[in-house]
Symmetry: C2
Subunit: 266 residues, 2 copies
Amino acid sequence: MKTSTKIIIHACIAMFLIGGSTGAFAQQTINRNLFSAGHAGAFVDGLFDSYYPYKQLEKHGDFGLGAPDKLDGELMIFKGKFYQTEATGLTRQMPDTGKTPYAITCFFHADKVFRPHRALNKAELFKYLDSVLNNQNGLYAIHITGTFKMIRTRAFPPVSKPYVPLAAMMDKQRFFTFENIKGDMIGFKTPEFMAGSFISGYHFHFLSDNKDKGGHVVDVVTADIAIEVETLTSFTMDLPQTADFKNYNFKKINAADIKAVENGKK
Amino acid sequence: MKTSTKIIIHACIAMFLIGGSTGAFAQQTINRNLFSAGHAGAFVDGLFDSYYPYKQLEKHGDFGLGAPDKLDGELMIFKGKFYQTEATGLTRQMPDTGKTPYAITCFFHADKVFRPHRALNKAELFKYLDSVLNNQNGLYAIHITGTFKMIRTRAFPPVSKPYVPLAAMMDKQRFFTFENIKGDMIGFKTPEFMAGSFISGYHFHFLSDNKDKGGHVVDVVTADIAIEVETLTSFTMDLPQTADFKNYNFKKINAADIKAVENGKK
């Protein structure tokens, strides 16, 4: 090959790499956005039909939680994969070909890691988190990894129309208690001013190390854990372009009902 | 030039174009997101110190409205440029080197154009808009262009600390009435369920054709106008990482006060 030809090839490769690296650089800016497919209050009140593709959700995060179509159990998003815990207790990875009625997700990068070095029950854990998450109006992604003395989860069975609010079907929940189990609590702390459109306060789902147990966390006693925290600095809500959402009466949303559903009891 | 060299050059150009067009294709996906720098309720209640760079805001939209630093008048974002209307009435293009305490913006692409073909006062205009924007829970960007028989705007003078809520300084507003004027109304319709964190209902700022008159619209009578509407399908709120926001007591927000400020009267 002639020298001039080689130079042209090198110049062309350089052009191509520059084009590519601009994109890579843009992606390196840490994305601290909490993305919500759907509106928590409307979902809890009965908008259980899925509408947002998991493949689309992957573009907005690799860490999060939500619900499968028609409320068929609970959804965990962990390290970019989707897991479902059914009301039977069966937990397994889901394909990303379906859709969700409601999910929240972010790209997780730990800013800080806390190690409590003592067993904490749920109230103590939340109190501990309150003490280290010092921005009362802050939005946080929280990943708790390690061993749990006890963790109690719940999952709802699939629903059929006409749908009733979650708060009216608390007796349909199925509970699972696991002891001395390794795994990950995946969740968020959402400030009070976001209540209604998000589930305010703490909200965690669980996924065992073996990815065969999980669900929405209703109780916990930690053993040896590390708490990774990321400060999120914005949130996005995707508004369902569906007839159900268009016709939904937002005046029906009751903050106490959302809280009851999060806690698993009225 | 040898034929082989020419082929290599063409192949390289093709590689570059493919690399470039992937990016271009990604950008071609219509961005229907309403971006909010800051929280409307907290801003109206006195968080007037700027924090969000205009240069950053440009990445989230080319159409919108807001406030300059320390509430020094009103802000219009039109075709990617920033304009300020001071309380003196002076309206001019602003450099994009500063910051805003509060602004909302989107990339504007008209989905539909409506021509009322008759003069409408403010109440009639909003009623007309209600009749054509048929999703009660919909979020819309609205660009009204043409001639106005009358348009009345207001602008607040700059404030100094300690700040008081906008609702407590309505007597500081300056009003401007323009007759038979060409220009653009730049605004949004935000659904009721977003009230508090956004200014619900209709909210418009005005910018004259000559870019020398503007402000927050408090009254209008249209003449010959075209109404361009874009359906937005998501919104993002950037949460100020400032001491003021961290310490802000959201319980202070009063929906009636936000409405009064939008209307320009209690």
